[in-house]
Amino acid sequence: MLRRLASLPVVLLCVVTITFFLMRLSPGGPFDSERKLPAAIEKQLLAKYKLDGTLLEQYSGYLKDLLHGDLRLSTKYRNRSVNEILAQTLPVTLTLGATALLIAITAGVWLGAFAAARPGTVGEGGALAAMLLAISLPSFVLGPLLILIFSIKLAWLPVGGWGTPIQLLLPAVTLAIPYAAVIARLLHDSLRETLAEDFVRTARAKGLTERAVVYRHALRVAILPVVSYLGPLAANLLTGSIVVETIFHIPGAGGFFVNSILNRDGFLLGGVVIVYCVLLMLFNLLVDLSYRFLDRRIRE
């Protein structure tokens, strides 16, 4: 565990380095426009945004600023720092992501257990078919279709925007559905395996109902693959939220990320990526800890 903890800064340094050199790789600078700026002004601009000096100097300067928690200034949204922009947009993205995570886990576990408890029935077949369909429905297909149905044809839900819980519903569901299906399949497969084990036979022999066997005994063991999927899931949700925020016009960090690529807004881009990676690493650490805890408890 301590080794995991020690490897975090190394991974983070790799992420920062890769991001920095990727964003400095493109030949154009952020101030290249149709009109050529006078040399003196350009020099001043470069100095203000700390883009002067050799690449190595810029890199070490950036690392130093990052260590002080300074993500620098955005070159597009003049006079706003990346810290400010992220402070405003990150809570939005995190709310969306956390809601989607909750929906994906709840719906996925329920559907997976539902299917596994009914082997060979129409119920299981239907649930498996629904999972396959949901996995094939990426958010950029599902989102616009849901808007077309629920917001335009039926006019039940708002088309987009942010601020009220009702506006959160459609985007969170859009983001969650494919991953709920992945969780459901993982749980279904591992439950079917667990239900064939000896301790389940013992539980059945005790005269417990099938419900109690599945939900109280087998589920505790079978949930482990789902727990270890939570890390990749969080990464997928953060990536997916970029597209969901675009579809539903949500003012989150994802929209700024896309714009920062188009605008060559290097420090904003770097800021979003670095903050995303830090969040994911912390989340992964948490998942790892809880996995070990659950695993040990089961072994005992």
Binding site: L25, S136, F140, V141, L145, A235, C277
Partner: protein, 290 residues
């Protein structure tokens, strides 16, 4: 084995064959006028235009078929690259001993939990201009028009190999312990010979299954990038960029639902067919092994 291969898998194979035929032959059959802008903008589906027309009056069916060429091309080539990397990585990790194996699989774990697509996104957009400049100065004209497509295929192949590596490594670990491999080792065959002659042929089935499952993943990734306007660029289009146009043309004022529905159906049916075919193959393979 035959029982699992009837029913849904057959339907899936038929859907894929039909989609392939449509995408390859369709654009040759339709008249050239369908390709050009016309005054008939946002026309609802009719006999002349079964899927309607887009904002420039171009036939949507033709655009879906041409977009499908790009989407499927990216999917197949990207998956082939990921297959190559994943198989090599998994083979080495599974056969090189504990220390190497641990380190290599730890890297896979880390990569799994990093938003890979985000890095690829930055990479494509940063590297594309470099490649364009190089292509222009070297006079490689074929590359100038499709540099983005080439980068897209390469980079998506580079991020989708993780699952393949895990599966191949797991399988290699069990194959390594088989008696015929031990026999080959006793007979003095070298490390690479054993990998090539005894282990790789036995991996062929599982590699084929995960290739089928990798294609839809790459297609989804490509559509994701193109949906955001950061993947395939006009005049080329893919199902992802058609979907982006579709999403932009639905609002209460102009309800051009066909712009969204038909690209969605094309993408959805292809993904569904590939996933169910891969699933059926996986199930038949695991029931054969047991």
């Amino acid at each position: 084995m035959m029982k699992t291969f009837t029913g849904s898998a057959k339907v899936a194979a038929l859907v894929l064959a039909g989609m392939g035929l449509l995408v390859l032959a369709g654009p040759l059959v339709l008249p050239d006028s369908h390709r050009l802008p016309s005054p008939l903008t946002y026309a609802a589906p009719s006999i002349a235009h079964p899927c309607g027309t887009d904002m420039n009056g171009r036939d949507l069916l033709l655009r879906i078929m041409e977009g499908g060429r790009i989407s499927l091309l990216v999917g197949i080539c990207g998956a082939a690259i990921s297959l190559f990397i994943g198989t090599a990585y998994g083979l080495i990790a599974g056969s090189a001993g504990r220390g190497t194996d641990n380190a290599m699989m730890r890297l896979v774990d880390v990569l799994y939990s990093v938003p890979r697509l985000i890095f690829i996104l930055i990479f494509i957009n940063a590297f594309n201009e470099r490649l364009q400049l190089a292509a222009n100065s070297q006079g490689w004209e074929w590359l100038v028009g499709s540099s983005r497509l080439v980068i897209l295929i390469l980079s998506l192949g580079v991020i989708e190999w993780l699952t393949m590596a895990r599966i191949v490594r797991g399988q290699t670990l069990t194959l390594r312990e088989r008696s015929y491999v031990a026999a080959a080792r006793v007979l003095g065959e070298g490390y690479w010979t054993i990998l090539r002659k005894h282990i790789l042929p036995n991996l062929a089935g599982i590699i084929l299954v995960y290739l089928t499952l990798a294609i839809p993943s790459v297609i989804i990734d490509e559509a994701f990038l193109s949906f955001l306007g950061l993947g395939v660029q006009p005049p080329q289009s893919s199902w992802g960029s058609l979907l982006a146009e579709g999403a932009a043309s639905i609002n209460p004022l102009k309800g051009a639902w066909w712009m969204l529905l038909f690209p969605s159906l094309a993408l959805l049916s292809t993904l569904l067919a590939l996933y169910s075919l891969g699933d059926a193959m996986r199930r038949s393979l695991s029931s054969k092994n047991h």
